[in-house]
Symmetry: C2
Subunit: 354 residues, 2 copies
């Protein structure tokens, strides 16, 4: 138990509470191609539980039902992951994630049979309607169901607020936005969360990525703008530049006067377990991560952009920025070749005029 | 040259200019125990110069004259480092750093003979008077001389402003604060920089560390509060959690409408060179880094705190927090043993009452 309880105004009983949602074992899973073992899942889940982390999310990086040749086969089945983590958690709630299209209502039934406490349904930021049936099913089943909007920088604050209100109408008991590309600066978050906060009465959440070194600062901005739930991963475990770092954002929030209910020393212990047991190295911000964050491009494009750029002899950074201008989204991988060919043609025209 | 010049309001000719000062080859040197070779120094300096980074600082981590058994012997002599970097720079200015006590006026003469363009003199945040003689010497010599206050979180905004005004009186042509422990949150920076900005008319600078994941956000807060100069290192190269990440803070500033004059693509190239040539791995935020940042403790205490804590059977995190409460500073290493023994005695008393 932490000796250091003198963290400032957060000690007062009137401190605003912020709930931490920990997707280390789900979003972090992307960083190791979904290869965490039962032993690894158990070790981290137990440590997070001991620290009193409110929600521990588990699964394939792309959620329930996503394990496949196309996006990568997980080492463990959904059944195995859910039963291992369920058993490891004493007080933390177990969360799962699902993207309609990858997962189905059958996967939701399975999660319920494993006593998942909280289900998140994610859709592209302007396609909340794809979650209608799943949210309806979860409402009928009486399961806590949050709806989250991916690549949320691609929609305006007003559009996101509308979409969130619609999701609540479908049955979402919480709504929020993911900064999937790590594109936001704090002012962007403040504006969007403010609009969403004004549009719904259910809990609002924010999920950040660290491409521009702003994940913690953006999470703080989100809390100040009214979110109730902040996502964060131990050591920032996640693909590319990684997620908001859990054991950093918690003491920072406490120091600013918010209450998380988490034991700092045990949280640091859990993060140390994550560092030694789950990952080869913690995420860091490399040049590709910066460019894709600036461009606001889906990080899953990375390998293909690098390969095609090399083949066509163009600068991959130009390709990222052009994909960003075109608002390319997952599924539009064909655009990468078009963009590269166009850039090459432009380069050749320029060269012929010099 | 970057194709992507569409970075928002920063493109307008009225954008406020922020000067970037790059201590990758000086403060970063701490991360590799001052063992950079001539080849490494040359490679990075040339790359930073090509990106139009305004100031490239070089030297032993503790500055001119500091290479010693006590804090570590550098691989290259000051003469060698300065001549190699001087030769590599075409347009960037060469900066050096000195801590009175480690370096002397003789070292300043040597730096001047190597055509250093800018000398920084650092002192503990309340001991600017120790820089009086050196600043006077540099004023006489007509050399641009900035004075910086270390461990600046230990002094109030008003005290820092007073100290900065005094330093200007001694001849400093620029003044600023270092967040040596990575303790600040943006509001802390805003308050302190605001006070300093109001107290002096010379350029003001901010130098951040990333222990709480806030180095970029704090640098932005500093710019918004009026600093003219921001320190940042490629990949955040530096001891422990590292420094403000150069190739992140530059495009973030540009996106916010500030102008740095730096070429983004060449800067990313320079950072890639730093990543592959200078370091084994980029800095990351580990649990000790977080605790020393929260506690506001000199990062150089780390190894000794861990050793003594293990020997006395106490939690090193408790030792850090207690050292923070005692406002321990470099040179007070003896306090570590006292703190550890006191904690052990408290533990034993507690145990005997259970």
């Amino acid at each position: 138990m932490s000796r250091n309880t003198d963290t400032g105004p957060g000690d007062t009983t009137t401190a605003k509470s912020v709930q931490i949602h920990d997707p280390t074992l789900r979003d972090g899973h992307h960083a190791v191609r979904h290869q965490l073992s039962s032993r690894q899942l158990r070790a981290y889940a137990a440590a997070a539980d001991a620290a009193a982390v409110p929600v521990v999310e588990v699964g394939h990086g792309n959620g329930l039902g996503a394990s496949s040749l196309q996006v990568g086969q997980a080492r463990c089945s959904d059944d195995e992951m859910l039963s291992v983590v369920r058993e490891a958690l004493r007080s933390s709630r177990m969360g799962v994630f699902m993207l309609p299209g990858w997962g189905t209502v059958e996967d939701l039934r399975k999660a319920i049979s494993h006593q998942a406490d909280l289900v998140r349904i994610g859709t592209h930021c302007t396609e909340g309607n794809l979650a209608e049936r799943h949210l309806g099913f979860l409402r009928e089943a009486g399961v806590d169901a949050h709806a989250v909007l991916l690549m949320s920088h691609m929609a305006s604050a007003g559009r996101l607020a509308e979409e969130c209100a619609r999701l609540v109408g479908y049955g979402a008991t919480g709504v929020g936005i993911l900064d999937s590309s790590g594109h936001y600066l704090p002012a962007d978050v403040t504006e969007r969360i403010g609009a969403i906060r004004a549009a719904v009465t259910v809990p609002v959440l924010f999920h950040g990525h660290n491409n521009l070194g702003m994940a913690v600062a953006n999470s703080i901005a989100a809390v100040e703008a009214g979110v109730d739930i902040v996502d964060a991963c131990a050591r920032g475990f996640g693909a590319g530049a990684g997620n908001t770092q859990l054991e950093v954002v918690v003491p920072v929030l406490e120091r600013m006067g918010y209450s998380t209910g988490i034991d700092l020393y045990r949280l640091l212990d859990a993060a140390d377990i994550a560092a030694t047991e789950l990952m080869d190295a913690p995420p860091s911000i490399d040049s590709v991560g910066i460019v894709s964050g600036l461009a606001g491009v889906f990080s899953g494009f990375k390998t293909r952009v690098l390969d095609i750029s090399q083949r066509e002899g163009v600068d991959p950074r130009d390709v990222f920025f052009e994909l960003g201008r075109l608002q390319a989204v997952a599924g539009q991988e064909d655009l990468i070749v078009d963009v590269a060919l166009n850039l090459r043609a432009t380069d050749e025209r320029t060269a012929s005029h010099v």
